[in-house]
Symmetry: D2
Subunit: 353 residues, 4 copies
């Protein structure tokens, strides 16, 4: 279950950062859908390393090879197998990690849990695996077509969009390399990232995701509420520390009489503090949520740590890394959201005959 | 899958607020453990209605009848079936909801999803079902014995514990009816709740949970990271709007060089911004997380809404309700945490031979 | 997973033979279906002990109490919880088993696996749990309505129906207490059972099940073929030793040119050696399969065995037992078949949009 | 769930007969095990086409490329991804099947279920996918090391081993191209297959599998009995029509007093009609079961059928096919058995602390 995500529409992935390839199997994809490979490639471009000057310079073209499940351009209902070859690994860069645990990385816990680890580039714990999520998400998006799923950066370190910022035009997101749709704030964020990089340091940030044109009725009480699954999906992305939807943490300061979303005659609600989900089930209003990303753990500075024989040592910052993962995490957030929505759409088909 | 929680240690529940009984089945409980029924009863007391003047006055003794799986005081490895009878339903109080949808409740979405609903007391969407979670959690806690799981209230509306508050003595939690371990802040919170109740209004708040004495190595990459599952568990509790662990949303403002937790020779870390989890796996440090609860949707005020034939109507605040669910949610948060930890402890046993 | 059966339509059960009650939770039952409680009760009558002179004389009325999930006579889509109280346990009859393992029973393996067991009446390993399956199956049957599911006895010990026997009228099944629709063969079977009982011995037999009016397309390649799941379902019933469908074991002696089912213009096939399933998917023809039941392990004779301290001992045949389980297993076979068909019907709804 | 098999040790597969590649992901493989690639390759040789004169002459070297999860020769606990390229497809041979349904093949039901199918070589329904099962089984076998899993041919068409045949030396199995360990019977079987091939016809047969040196305690009541899962596993293999274990169908003719396996002081049983499993749990005795394979559906003769516009047509026997799948199915039966045993071994680790 651990390398699989989803119930009916289900992705299973494999692969280490510096292995031969990463890849996955998409099971339960409905049959008869035209798959546009260019749209998948576009999503991969949004996530791939080396796409701009503010991300890691590892060069991967991240070309996806589909091996099954698509016949004459259409899904057949059989599992879609795919691989993405690793090309620009520089495993030598990681030799110093063989016996040493990087602070706030997964090195130490993998060693303790499995008693063995592929230390090259973080092995399985590297965010490289998220490329597979983007593949499955890109397919889910195509099947959901009428449903809009748009994520964007609302803060990088201390630079934030205005709290009441309204996304009028999703197209503005991709105009910014940091994927913040307000170009003034975007510029400030880019400066902040450059400054951090120059200092050998890293930044975190917050991503907001909006799902529009939602059907009513998706979400499965009690334990599989729609927002529980969205939360789980987002929290499974590397570096994520928090998730809130609708009014979120701020909603805890409101009074019930303010927070309640009055239902209007057209079945929409006057306000949307519920974030499009009530009792775990979509009510047709926009779903929106925030995802918190911690600053990247790999800094270009010397840090104290211990090595595998328990002695203290100094670890050097080496290799090619992102000073901030937020810009590249946008398509991952969207991909995970798309997978959840499609999966719950399919589950919902079984609730009445 | 929807009314089940957990993989190896798995709870499945049933029951509506005003049905004959609620109950559940606990599957996968390890064999040979002595079950102390009084400890279970204690946990039930902490959740039950009518326990203090700041919660709903519905009277339920919430006595649990165990029907199987425990023999001569020990778990046998077979499923533990249990029921809790509903006693003090006043279904008449809900007749006005038959054709009317309460704002920010699940009435509207259940009707749309299932085309039928048990409107009495919210039916399945009522928080009454959480009693079953407390039963399973109380058993999980007994099996985990050495691991400490303590939740407490850190804010109610605008009244908050100091951000750097340190829980020195978990016993102080239960000394407060609002379950805030600082007695000065606790008093203020109680006042705030009383004030809200007087105004026919309701409040939200935040619960913090600390899991101490954790074994290293629990958590399953990629999609079943320990915090993903904790997040999903918490987000499945009624009224929850957000989850963050470790540095959480605030961590997004930190630099990587500040945020990294330096590993010391004794394998603990100097700081704990990671919140006891790295790469989705416990590192032996305390796990801590925050859970955001929205204000209760049922207010004792008239509210506009629509009814099932699509016409506008006025809904009256009636019935017995909590002005704030946070105090009663404390044992639920602990129960869900205990189930996750035990489940992941059992899963982890299969990772090496 | 172990006490749950099914994917979308899923039964989870609990209960020991001599505990307070047995019961279960049916999750994923589609909403809006009228449930006829009398039809459920009828199915329970077909399985219950004491129904005729050739079965165990334990007296259980096996009344089912539904606790949730049905509102004003209709399923609501929420879990259906139910219990069946144990009434006529005579646990004293089992005191001699506390430290002794009955041959070909589960006593020995439960003790080894769990290091503890409820020895009274076989505990969880007793066929008493199958009553819960009949409840869930009776609900599944009502939802499937147009699909016919009929099981009947084809052999008891050495007495068999003619190999080419054709079930013309399913109503004849219930006219026979051994549930063999041919009244001459039925009489012989009853005599055979009486003779075995008089000798303190027991018999096995074979049940055939026919599922008619099947929709095309049910069954999920690769690992969840329709017949794999039917086989698994049948093999999970106590005392079952074998399963075959369509041409079965005899089909291995045929040539491909004889065995192939030629497809006709109306999309039916000329012959039906496939047993209604091709490539794991229903083709619309009748599904039929055979289930082999071993003779009951409890004989009314002294048998050698060992006890829990490893010493040899003699175990006496005591208690009230069936000389042959086949007549009472008929409704269980049908119930399991109904659950599989409904579950796969619901899964199939997700394969195309 | 449909293209995945297993709970803890779980294989997910993809791939069509004439696609670019087939492959799979093995999740939940315990960490730290040395993997001998040659042993995997040996198993693949036993299944591969073209291995002898009595099987299909399609030439595939069936080389497995491992892409992840094995580091410096050891399993790491992360998913093992692998692919097997398709090389010798002759898709042209299947052009005539584009609009025509082969009798007793899956063509018709795939078309009805998914409304689209990859008709080349049977697409996903081809037994080509079983190569992936052999990979996973070969890894499971290596981890189980002390447990012996040996399958062999007991009948081909009307030629059978003596019912009481005893497998003294598993090495004799591989000395026979039909994998029958008795060389006289083996010769007769080979003749029978040659004769069938000459007539453009095909044969079925029966495979017996023996699992020796079993630990006590594997198997999960109620619905996941060890034999239920073995049965499901075997029934999921292409062309299988039946499964029986222990005394099987013949056991239905025995009396209880004969059938009971008396437990001896050393905890073995005097007889083994139970087939090593009681109450769904292994008792330490050898497990043995039979699997029935129907004759191959592709015959080299003209057959009547219908095409996709509903008109009658004649289908010609073309392509390279096995006159009998039994010899090549031996390693598949063993692979599925190995996966079940390892999976249940891992599950059993969670039953007591």
């Amino acid at each position: 279950m651990n390398n699989s995500f989803g119930n009916i529409f289900r992705l299973t992935t494999f692969g280490e950062s510096h292995g031969k390839a990463i890849g996955g199997i998409i099971d339960g994809c409905p049959a008869g859908h035209k798959i546009n490979l260019e749209l998948i490639s576009n999503e991969m471009q949004r996530r791939k390393p080396g796409q701009s000057k503010i991300v890691t310079q590892r060069k991967e073209d991240d070309a996806v090879e589909f091996l099954s499940g698509i016949f004459e351009g259409l899904t057949t209902g059989t599992p879609i197998g795919f691989i993405i070859k690793n090309k620009d690994q520089k495993s030598k860069d990681y030799d110093h990690l063989k016996d040493s645990y990087r602070p706030s990385h997964a090195d130490f816990v993998y060693e303790k849990k499995y008693r063995i680890r592929d230390y090259r580039g973080g092995g399985r714990s590297s965010a490289r695996e998220t490329a597979c999520r983007v593949v499955a998400g890109a397919i889910a998006k195509q099947i959901l077509k009428n449903i809009g799923i748009h994520a964007f950066t609302t803060s990088i370190g201390n630079i934030s969009l205005d709290e009441n910022y309204n996304l009028n035009n999703p197209k503005n997101i991709e105009k910014s390399i940091v994927r913040c749709p307000d170009n003034i704030v975007s510029e400030k964020m880019i400066e902040e990232i450059k400054k951090a990089r120059k200092n050998g340091d890293t930044l975190g940030g917050i991503i907001k995701c909006i799902i529009s044109n939602m059907p009513i009725g998706l979400g499965e009480p009690i334990f599989n509420k729609l927002h529980s699954e969205l939360g789980r999906a987002m929290l499974s992305i590397n570096a994520v520390k928090g998730f809130e939807y609708g009014s979120g943490f701020k909603g805890t300061k409101m009074k019930g009489s303010e927070h309640n979303d009055i239902i209007k005659k057209d079945e929409t609600t006057k306000t949307n503090y519920s974030g499009g989900i009530q009792g775990g089930i979509s009510n047709g209003m926009d779903i929106f949520f925030n995802v918190a990303f911690k600053p990247v753990a790999t800094v270009m500075k010397d840090q104290k740590t211990i090595n595998s024989d328990g002695n203290e040592s100094i670890i050097k910052g080496k290799g090619r890394h992102d000073p901030c993962v937020v810009p590249r995490a946008i398509p991952i957030v969207e991909a995970m959201a798309a997978m959840v929505i499609l999966d719950y759409f399919l589950i919902n088909k079984t609730k009445t005959l």
